[in-house]
């Protein structure tokens, strides 16, 4: 911190304010560190490209009419018949990699976000209930949570999907099943701390129902921790989906996510046609990385001051 210069202090100043040189910008919490800004910018770019697709992609990889198998496995930079440049090459079906990646990113993101949101909602309800009702209810719910968390998530998801088959909705279901317990645990921990506070006792004293206390009083004040965890875990959900798709049990071929794209290009890696696998992989890494970074920075920003 700069030391205050003597000439800025007016000895007769009344009220006792000493003016520092002009520096007006209001420091919003997020604006405080450049790294937060940059990670959020990357994230915003990723999200926007993922969601605004039809406008950006040169080609719709699902529309069979737009690509031709005769153009398959072309290296990056090649030209198609109709003058379009395949900037990242084509895959085994002749689809433009750029388009495929953009669409794949959208699927990956969508699955990740939807699964996380649903898992979050379930986890919040379970965690709140455990904290509010205590004793038996708490014991039963937490044993359930422990049980779910005891299994490696990929294994459980694999088993579930083997039983359910392929499909985006089934993937979301499987991811929700293995993720909700994390949120339940964090929510319960925050809620239990808040529950000790006197305003909750006051609410009980005013005759409110347990449900009202749970959602109107406890929830808004204990949700911040679990929300921050959720932003980080979206990346986990996406990774999980990518892994499942790579293994062939995730999303169907008609709606390829980045993981599936990586898988479909795998067989060509050894013959030097790396672009079919590698570029979707790179896109996946960037997606996860920027989500993690943003989540991390958000956590720092909200933790330190609250």
């Amino acid at each position: 911190m700069k030391k205050l210069k003597r000439e800025h202090i007016d000895p007769l100043l009344v009220p006792p304010i000493v003016k520092t040189p002009k520096r007006v910008w209001h420091l919003a919490r997020i604006n405080r560190r450049p790294s937060i800004r940059s990670s959020l910018i990357i994230l915003a770019i990723v999200l926007v490209t993922g969601l605004l697709l039809p406008v950006l992609a040169p080609q719709n990889p699902y529309d069979l009419a737009t690509f031709s198998i005769m153009e398959n496995r072309l290296p990056p930079g090649s030209e198609s018949f109709d003058g379009m440049t395949f900037w990242l090459g084509t895959d085994s079906q002749g689809r433009d990699m750029v388009s495929a990646i953009l669409y794949g990113m959208r699927i990956s993101l969508m699955v990740g976000l939807v699964a996380t949101t649903i898992a979050l909602m379930i986890g919040i309800c379970v965690g709140l209930a455990a904290a509010t009702f205590g004793s038996r209810v708490d014991a039963v719910l937490m044993r359930l949570v422990d049980f779910v968390l005891g299994f490696p998530s990929i294994l459980v998801a694999l088993v579930l999907l083997a039983a359910l088959g392929r499909g985006v909705d089934k993937v979301i279901f499987a991811i929700v099943m293995v993720q909700w317990a994390h949120y339940a645990r964090v929510m319960r921990a925050s809620a239990m701390v808040e529950r000790q506070k006197e305003y909750i006792e006051a609410a009980e004293n005013l005759g409110y129902s347990k449900l009202r206390i749970m959602f109107r009083h406890l929830l808004p004040n204990s949700i911040s921790a679990v929300l921050v965890i959720a932003t980080i875990r979206v990346a986990v959900a996406i990774t999980l989906e990518a892994t499942l798709s790579f293994l062939g049990v995730g999303v169907p071929v008609t709606q390829p996510s980045l993981g599936l794209l990586v898988a479909s290009g795998f067989e060509f890696l050894m013959s030097g046609e790396y672009w079919i696998s590698v570029y979707p992989g790179v896109a996946l890494v960037i997606l996860i990385f920027s989500l993690n970074l943003a989540g991390d920075r958000l956590r720092e920003a909200f933790d330190s001051r609250r």
Binding site: E198, A202, Y208
Partner: protein
């Protein structure tokens, strides 16, 4: 002169124990190992509070006064004994009557920072019970009532839309009182309501309590560790030590002639601006932990009058004069 009692407690006790884990329970069954320790927060309390009376409840940390307050307001159930409200045992009340009792006995909390929901506007905070319980029937009526109680505690009704963090400690305490007032209580349990406030604000809040009592005919249980504050506002004072009632007397008599050695010690410790550079003569010994209270009379390790009987036998609360009770082997009559 005791009027019809509004609340009395009979033989009231409250234990706390961390619920034993399954492993501990099994070990206890098989090997008779120790279960988690029990804290006897309140032990066999008998107390009667009359209508429109201010009962002061004084004690230091660990004496159980907050626990007793919470049992009386219905937030915490007793493990033994009963709370009797207007003649009926509280646990026997029908659910409609139970609700009436819960609303009639309101609590004012110690910590002005933790006792208000940080995410609720204070107007909503006060309006909520009115709407939930149908105390007011229209929106206009609700707003009018909120304005009324805010005004009564000395806050500008325009503050309705503000959040707790925008207020000072003293103002927050007033908001807590307004919230309690909104539901038309009859009995207020005030748990150290001014301990966390600045000295110059304490006088304001004490005056507020006194005004409310005069205007509404409230009955108070005023819990505090500060005897000089309690002296000012209370009609009778009950002194607690480690979960038990050790002395009960009308205020002026307690100060004129304290019977129990602990009361005498407390009185001696009150700093006074009239005494200058005096020699402190402190009570010896530590406050015992409620987990491990001394045998017999729990005060005996610190008592300058302790005899051998005090180490073995816990004294019973005895009436030693008109409206005076004391639990000490050495005091028979005032």
């Amino acid at each position: 002169m005791i009027d019809a009692p509004i609340i009395s407690v009979e033989d009231l006790s409250r234990k706390f124990q961390r619920p034993p884990v399954l492993a501990e329970r099994l070990l206890h069954m098989v090997f008779n190992s120790k279960l988690p320790p029990v804290v006897n927060a309140v032990i066999d309390m008998d107390l009667t509070i009359a209508h429109n009376e201010v009962m002061g409840l004084v004690g230091e940390s660990g004496c159980g006064k907050s626990t007793l307050g919470r049992m009386i307001s219905g937030i915490l159930p007793p493990t033994k004994g009963q709370v009797v409200y207007e003649g009926t045992d509280v646990s026997d009340l029908s659910s409609a009557d139970k609700l009436a009792y819960t609303l009639a006995v309101q609590m004012v909390f110690q910590d002005p920072y933790a006792s208000l929901n940080p995410r609720q506007k204070i107007g909503d905070m006060i309006a909520e019970p009115l709407q939930v319980h149908g105390i007011t029937t229209s929106r206009a009526e609700t707003i009018a009532r909120v304005d009324q109680v805010l005004d009564e505690v000395g806050l500008d009704p325009d503050y309705k839309s503000r959040f707790p963090h925008q207020f000072s400690g003293g103002q927050r305490q007033r908001i807590g009182i307004a919230r309690a007032l909104a539901v038309n209580p009859k009995f207020l349990v005030c748990d150290e309501p001014i301990a966390a406030l600045d000295v110059s604000i304490q006088a304001q809040v004490i005056n507020l309590f006194m005004d409310l009592r005069d205007n509404h005919g409230f009955t108070y249980l005023f819990i505090s560790h500060d005897l000089s504050v309690v002296r000012h506002i209370a009609d009778r004072i009950a002194i607690m030590y480690l979960g038990r009632l050790v002395e009960l007397a009308p205020t002026h008599e307690l100060f004129a002639e304290p019977a129990h050695p602990y009361t005498q010690a407390l009185l001696g410790e009150i700093p006074s601006i009239k005494r200058r550079r005096r020699k402190f003569q402190a009570v010896k010994g530590e406050l015992p932990s409620p987990l491990d209270p001394p045998p017999g009379c729990t005060f005996h390790p610190r008592c300058s009058h302790a005899r051998s009987r005090c180490k073995e036998e816990a004294p019973v609360l005895r009436t030693i004069g008109p409206e005076r009770q004391c639990a000490c082997h050495l005091i028979n009559k005032i």
